[in-house]
C-alpha cells in the first residue's frame, strides 16, 4: 500500500465519525507523512509506523463509548439518552404486543383443535372480537408512541430550560467578575447566602438533598474527599445574584487516572430558609430528595436515572419528571402536583387539589385527600387511586387487558368495563387508565 491508498482508505474509514474528527486526523496524518519523508523514511515505513486503520477506528469507537458511559455522561447527551430509553421501551412494548398476538394465535389453535358442532358460529364471533381487540390495540399503541415521544421531549425540554437559564445567570456573574467558582484546589463547598427567594441546583451524578434552614440563609454544602486528579476532573460553581442562588457540580473533562474512572462528589446538601419560594433541581444520575420544606411558589425537579423523593413537602405547584427513576412523595401538600416517570414507579400520598401522575412501564399509586382532579395513568403498570375526604367521584377508567375495580364506601364494583362511572356527588374528577395493568379506584 502506498501513501495515496492508505489515506484514501483512512478517509473512507473515518466517514462515520463526522467531518470534524475526520478532517483533523487526515491533516495530522498528512503532516506526519511529510515530516517522515523529509526525515528519510519511505512511505511503507511511515504507514507501518502510523498503524492499522482498523485499530484506529476501534480506538476511536472506544473513546466515543467512554464518553457516553455513565460517569462521563454529559448533559449534551441527555436527549440522545432520552431517545435511547424511548427506543428500548418501544421495543419492549412491541414485544408485549407480539406476545398478545401470540396469545390470540394460541387461542385460535386451541379452538381449531376442539372442533365442536357450533364451531363456525363461534369462529365468527371470536374473529370479530379478536379483530376489534387488535384494532383497538393498534390504536392504543399509536397513542402510546405519540405520548412517549412527547414525554421524552418534555423531559428533555424541562431539562434544557432549567439549564439554559442557569447558564445565563452564570454568564452575568462572570461578566461582573463575581464568579465565585471554586478552584481546582478548593473543591469543598460550604457557602451561605441571605435574602434568597429562588435557587437552582444542577449536578451530573451527585444527589441533591434539600432540608430546611434554621438561620434564614441558603446553604450549599458539598464535602468532596477527592484525590488531586479527581479535583481536576470536577468543577463546582456557585453564586448568588438578585435573590437567586445557584450551585452546579459538573464533570469538567474525562481525564482518567491510571486504573479507575474518576467519581465525583456524592451529594450536595442544600438548606432552604422560608424566604425561598421557588426551586429548580436537576440531576442526571443522582437522586433528588426534599424533606420538611415549604415553598410558596413552585418546584421543578428533573432527573434522568435518579429517584425523586419528597417527604413532608408543602408547595403550591410541583412538576417532577424522571426517565428511569421512581417518584415517591410522602405527605405532600400541594395545589398542582405533576409527577411523571418513564420506566419507574410513582407513589404519592398527601393532600393535593390537582394531581397528575404518570408512568409508562411502572405502577402508579396515589392516595390523596381532598382532591378535585386526579389523573393516574400507566401503560404496562397497575394504577391505583385511593381518594379520601371527598363525597363522591366521577371516574373515567380504561384498561385493555387488566381488571377494573371501583369502590365507594360500602359499594364495590369489581371487574367492570371501561367507561365512565359516577359515585356520590361525583365532585372529584378521576382519570385512571392503563393498557395492560389493573385499574383500581377507591373512595
Amino acid at each position: 500500500m502506498n501513501r495515496q491508498e492508505y489515506m484514501d482508505a483512512l478517509s473512507k474509514a473515518l466517514e462515520s465519525f463526522g467531518s470534524d474528527i475526520k478532517d483533523e486526523i487526515i491533516s495530522d496524518y498528512e503532516e506526519h507523512f511529510n515530516d517522515g519523508l523529509a526525515n528519510g523514511k519511505t512511505e511503507e515505513q511511515i504507514i507501518a509506523e502510523l498503524g492499522s486503520i482498523e485499530d484506529l477506528v476501534r480506538e476511536l469507537k472506544d473513546l466515543k463509548d467512554d464518553n457516553t458511559s455513565d460517569n462521563g455522561r454529559s448533559f449534551e447527551n441527555f436527549e440522545k439518552e432520552a431517545k435511547k430509553t424511548f427506543d428500548d421501551f418501544s421495543k419492549a412494548f412491541a414485544s408485549f404486543i407480539g406476545s398478545m398476538a401470540a396469545g390470540v394465535t394460541n387461542g385460535a389453535q386451541k379452538f381449531t383443535d376442539s372442533a365442536s358442532g357450533y364451531a363456525s358460529n363461534m369462529a365468527d364471533s371470536l374473529s370479530g372480537s379478536f379483530g376489534k381487540a387488535a384494532e383497538s390495540f393498534g390504536k392504543a399503541a399509536d397513542a402510546f408512541a405519540d405520548k412517549s415521544v412527547q414525554f421524552a421531549k418534555d423531559v428533555a425540554e424541562s431539562y434544557k430550560n432549567n439549564r439554559n437559564e442557569s447558564t445565563c445567570e452564570r454568564k452575568c456573574d462572570a461578566e461582573k467578575g463575581e464568579d465565585n467558582s471554586a478552584d481546582a484546589e478548593d473543591i469543598v463547598m460550604s457557602v451561605s447566602y441571605s435574602d434568597v427567594n429562588e435557587i437552582s441546583v444542577e449536578t451530573d451524578c451527585a444527589d441533591i438533598i434539600v432540608e430546611p434552614s434554621e438561620d434564614g440563609c441558603v446553604h450549599f454544602d458539598c464535602d468532596y474527599d477527592a484525590t488531586p486528579s479527581q479535583k481536576l476532573a470536577y468543577r463546582i460553581e456557585y453564586g448568588c445574584e438578585d435573590g437567586k442562588a445557584y450551585a452546579y457540580i459538573k464533570k469538567k473533562s474525562s481525564v482518567s487516572s491510571f486504573f479507575k474512572k474518576i467519581t465525583g462528589p456524592e451529594a450536595i446538601y442544600v438548606k432552604l430558609p422560608g424566604s425561598v419560594d421557588k426551586v429548580k433541581l436537576a440531576s442526571l444520575s443522582g437522586d433528588v430528595e426534599l424533606s420538611d420544606v415549604t415553598l410558596d411558589k413552585r418546584a421543578d425537579i428533573s432527573t434522568m436515572s435518579g429517584d425523586v423523593i419528597l417527604n413532608n413537602l408543602s408547595v403550591r405547584d410541583i412538576y417532577a419528571s424522571t426517565m428511569s427513576g421512581d417518584v415517591d412523595a410522602v405527605n405532600l401538600t400541594s395545589g398542582i402536583a405533576e409527577l411523571k416517570t418513564m420506566s419507574g414507579d410513582v407513589e404519592i400520598d398527601g393532600n393535593v387539589i390537582n394531581v397528575n401522575t404518570q408512568s409508562t412501564s411502572g405502577d402508579v399509586k396515589a392516595k390523596i385527600a381532598g382532591a378535585r382532579k386526579v389523573k393516574t395513568v400507566s401503560v404496562s403498570g397497575d394504577v391505583n387511586a385511593v381518594l379520601e375526604g371527598i363525597d363522591g367521584y366521577s371516574a373515567t377508567v380504561d384498561t385493555k387487558s387488566g381488571d377494573i375495580n371501583l369502590y365507594f364506601g360500602a359499594e364495590s364494583h369489581e371487574d367492570v368495563k371501561r367507561g365512565s362511572y359516577t359515585f356520590g356527588t361525583g365532585a372529584c374528577e378521576v382519570t385512571a387508565t392503563s393498557v395492560s395493568g389493573d385499574v383500581v379506584v377507591e373512595a
Binding site: I21, E24, I25, S27, D28, Y29, E31, H32, N34, D35, G36, A38, N39, E49, L50, G51, S52, I53, D55, L56, E59, L60, D62, L63, A184, P228, S229, L232, S253, S254, V255, S256, S257, F258, F259, K260, K261
Partner: protein, 102 residues
C-alpha cells in the same frame, strides 16, 4: 494491557514531552515510538483528546520546508495534570518495584 492504564501512561508521556516547550506531531510521536511499540495513530488520538480536555492547545506555524505544522502547547491545567499523573505513576512504579524486586 488495561485500557485505562495504557491511556494514562500515554497521556503522561505526551504531556511530559511538552513540559519544556511546544512540539509538533511528528516530533512527539517519533520520539515516543522510538522507545515503545506504539502506533503513531494512537498517539494522534491521545493528542486530540488532550486538546478536547483543554490540557493542550494547538496552533499552526510555518516550517522551513513544506506546509505549516501544527504545534502543541501545554496549558496550565495540562501542567497541573501532568504533575499529578507523574506522581501517581512514580508512586505506582515504586510500589510495584517494592513487590516484584528490582
Amino acid at each position: 494491557m488495561n485500557a485505562q492504564f495504557k491511556k494514562g501512561a500515554l497521556e503522561l508521556c505526551v504531556l511530559s514531552m511538552l513540559t519544556d516547550g511546544d512540539r509538533y506531531g511528528y516530533e512527539l510521536t517519533d520520539a515516543i515510538s522510538e522507545k515503545m511499540e506504539i502506533a503513531s495513530g494512537t498517539l494522534y488520538l491521545v493528542l486530540r483528546r488532550l486538546k478536547e480536555e483543554n490540557l493542550v492547545t494547538t496552533y499552526l506555524r510555518e516550517s522551513e520546508n513544506g506546509p505549516a505544522r501544527k504545534y502543541y502547547h501545554l496549558t496550565d491545567e495540562g501542567r497541573n495534570y501532568q504533575g499529578q499523573l507523574k506522581s501517581d505513576w512514580l508512586g505506582f512504579v515504586r510500589a510495584v518495584a517494592g513487590i516484584v524486586g528490582e
